[in-house]
């Protein structure tokens, strides 16, 4: 039999019974759509987290005060660990280390901003001029903090986009004086809208010089030190050097934790990838069920068409071509179901993105290929048994029925 004829005959057989065909295709398409939508969700979550981390900057090494114990409880720590403050001096000393490009000390607190008769609660971020480069911040107006090396603790503030809107509306705030906590500060710049990082929106921030922040909060310690290395390959070396330098400055006490953003990122990436794989696996079960349905429908079809199979044999069809006819029929049904499922899946993912614009719910390519592939393979696999049954059917018995 020619391939084109096999295809034609099988498609007539497949689509002859429209309700049966419709239900079967629906079952397969739901399976494929589930794979596509669920992996889009999982992978979307991964991308969301990765993007969040990446927006903090690249090649980052972070220093946190306090030691995160990873070697189990050690009674000696009870006596000996007396964490020292992480200071601005610690931060500036790190700038001299090889491989370090930028260093920003960070202090975070909540505060109030008071201007033009309006009071607003806001996040205060104390840092230095390098913070802008380190975090790739963009300004919509004015400039960022001036370099504290030259002008010690100038009374300046950079406003987040939302803070500016709430306090000044559409008026130009540059050069205006605002009251932050108990200090009067001059507005020098406004951040561009939509910046993110470290779990908060930069739209809600007030950025002031680190020395000013420490004085306002009456503290010496820092929340973090952010370090940008000169290249990705230097991250590990810089981590070791930073730790060594700080231990030296803290009288030999290892009372800080140095982490590379990369490592954190990779961990999240891994966890969320596993999560995506997990939901894909669950969705694949529904595909498997659809495969069993294919088998059931094809078995019923073989039983219903016993006489036809006998006839085909009497007319000179070989067992192989009978088997092929039924295989192709199963394959046609699962292909159509798979393609329809892809459409549903992409539609679903599109709907998710429409409802949650910030959430990048795109199905990963591997999931699309695997979903479609599983549909086809299960159609093929579960089509084999009915097709073989058809091929083995005894022509005489088949013809004597009806």
């Amino acid at each position: 039999m020619r391939i084109s004829d096999t295809l034609r005959f099988s498609s007539y057989a497949a689509f002859g019974n429209s309700l049966r065909t419709f239900l079967l295709i629906l079952a397969i398409s739901i399976g494929v759509a589930a794979v596509v939508v669920l992996t889009a969700l999982g992978d979307g979550a991964r991308r969301y987290v990765v993007d969040e981390f990446s927006s903090m900057g690249t090649n980052l090494v972070i220093v946190l005060p306090g030691r995160s114990e990873t070697r189990g409880f050690n009674p000696a720590n009870l006596v000996t660990s007396t964490p020292r403050d992480l200071t601005v001096e610690d931060a500036s000393s790190l700038l001299k280390l090889a491989g370090v490009k930028l260093v920003s000390p960070i202090l975070i607190a909540t505060t109030e901003i008071n201007a033009a008769g309006k009071l607003r609660e806001s996040m205060l971020l104390g840092t230095n001029a390098d913070y802008k480069k380190l975090r790739n911040l963009k300004l919509s107006l004015g400039r960022f903090l001036s370099d504290t090396e030259t002008s010690l603790a100038a009374p300046e503030v950079v406003l987040g986009a939302q803070v500016r809107k709430d306090v000044f509306g559409s008026a130009n705030p540059i050069g205006k004086t605002v009251r932050v906590g108990n200090r009067k500060l001059r507005v020098v710049g406004v951040l561009a809208e939509g910046g993110r990082g470290m779990g908060m929106s930069s739209d809600e921030l007030l950025i002031i010089p680190i020395e000013m922040a420490q004085a306002m909060l009456n503290t010496n310690t820092l929340f973090r030190i952010l370090i940008e290395t000169e290249s990705r390959s230097q991250i590990e070396a810089v981590k070791a050097r930073v730790l060594k330098a700080i231990i030296q400055r803290h009288d030999g006490e290892e009372d800080v934790t140095v982490i590379a953003q990369d490592a954190v990122l990779q961990t999240f990436d891994k966890i969320l990838n596993v999560l995506t794989l997990g939901v894909a696996g669950i969705a694949a079960i529904s595909l498997f069920v659809a495969g069993i349905l294919v088998m059931n429908v094809m078995l019923v079809s073989v039983t219903q068409r016993t006489a036809e199979i006998g006839l085909l044999k009497a007319l000179g069809a070989t067992a192989k071509s009978v088997q092929q006819l039924f295989m192709v029929e199963a394959l046609l049904l699962s292909t159509l179901g798979g393609l329809l499922g892809l459409c549903f899946g992409y539609l679903g993912a599109g709907l998710l993105r429409y409802i949650y614009p910030a959430f990048p719910a795109y199905p990963p390519l591997w999931a699309v290929v695997a979903g479609l592939g599983t549909a086809l393979v299960s159609g093929l696999l579960f089509g084999v048994m009915p097709a073989r049954r058809a091929a083995r059917l005894d022509a005489i018995e088949a013809l004597s029925k009806r």
Partner: protein, 237 residues
């Protein structure tokens, strides 16, 4: 008739069916010689083995013993694919219940053996068109079987059985599901094919139909009890 070639030669054919614990001798020591162009009626009561004989002749069944030569070739030793090919090229089947594929049009049903044999699309179209014309189905070609009368259905079935120009036409009660007039029409069609040189073997209960054949074979309990051709030989002798 002696001058014509032997087309079917059955020698000592046995066929036993196993039904549970008992074995049923469906055919017992059948010896039969059929020449090309013969018109034979196989008659006998139910269970006499006439259908089994027909299935065997049509290569749908294998004998347990004995040999079957079709056109000078031993076909009992062929594997199932080779037998399928012989069926496709040399044998046409006509059934009591027509056995048309319900979702295919009359034309597509007629085309089926050509499709299964892998004949090209253009060639196929020409053969089917000719067959539709020959069997007077021109205005019914695009109808499905459920839109055709019994006589039309059997004509479609006969057209289907003959599109591959088989050597032997096997008909199992071809008029069994038809009224007298339509049955008569179908029989005349089959006889016309026989006159064109096609060997025609009809299995029937119908005495009148059997009497029209040139040679009658009577079967009882799996054995040939009477063969009119042998009468001829006896008379001649």
């Amino acid at each position: 008739m002696n001058s014509q070639q032997t087309i079917i030669q059955l020698t000592s054919i046995d066929r036993v069916f196993q039904l549970g614990d008992t074995s049923v001798q469906a055919l017992h020591d059948i010896n039969l010689t059929i020449r090309q162009g013969e018109y034979i009626a196989v008659m006998g009561p139910s269970g006499s083995g006439k259908s089994t004989l027909l299935n065997l002749l049509g290569l749908l069944d294998r004998p347990d013993r004995g040999s079957y030569e079709l056109a000078g070739r031993d076909v009992t030793t062929l594997n199932s694919d080779e037998q399928a090919s012989v069926r496709s090229k040399s044998i046409g089947f006509i059934f009591q219940s027509f056995h048309l594929v319900p979702r295919l049009t009359a034309a597509a049903n007629i085309e089926l053996p050509l499709v299964l044999a892998g004949v090209g699309v253009k060639e196929r179209a020409a053969i089917v068109l000719q067959a539709i014309h020959d069997y007077g189905l021109a205005d019914r070609a695009q109808h499905r079987p459920n839109e055709l009368s019994g006589g039309q259905r059997q004509r479609v079935a006969i057209a289907r059985a003959t599109v591959m120009r088989p050597l032997v036409l096997l008909a199992d009660e071809p008029t069994g599901n038809l009224d007298r007039a339509t049955g008569e029409e179908v029989v005349r069609l089959l006889e016309a094919l026989n006159q064109q040189g096609m060997t025609l073997i009809v299995v029937t209960h119908d005495q009148a139909l059997g009497a029209r054949a040139h040679r009658q074979i009577h079967m009882v309990d799996g054995a040939i009890v009477h063969d009119s051709a042998q009468d001829l030989i006896v008379k001649e002798g």
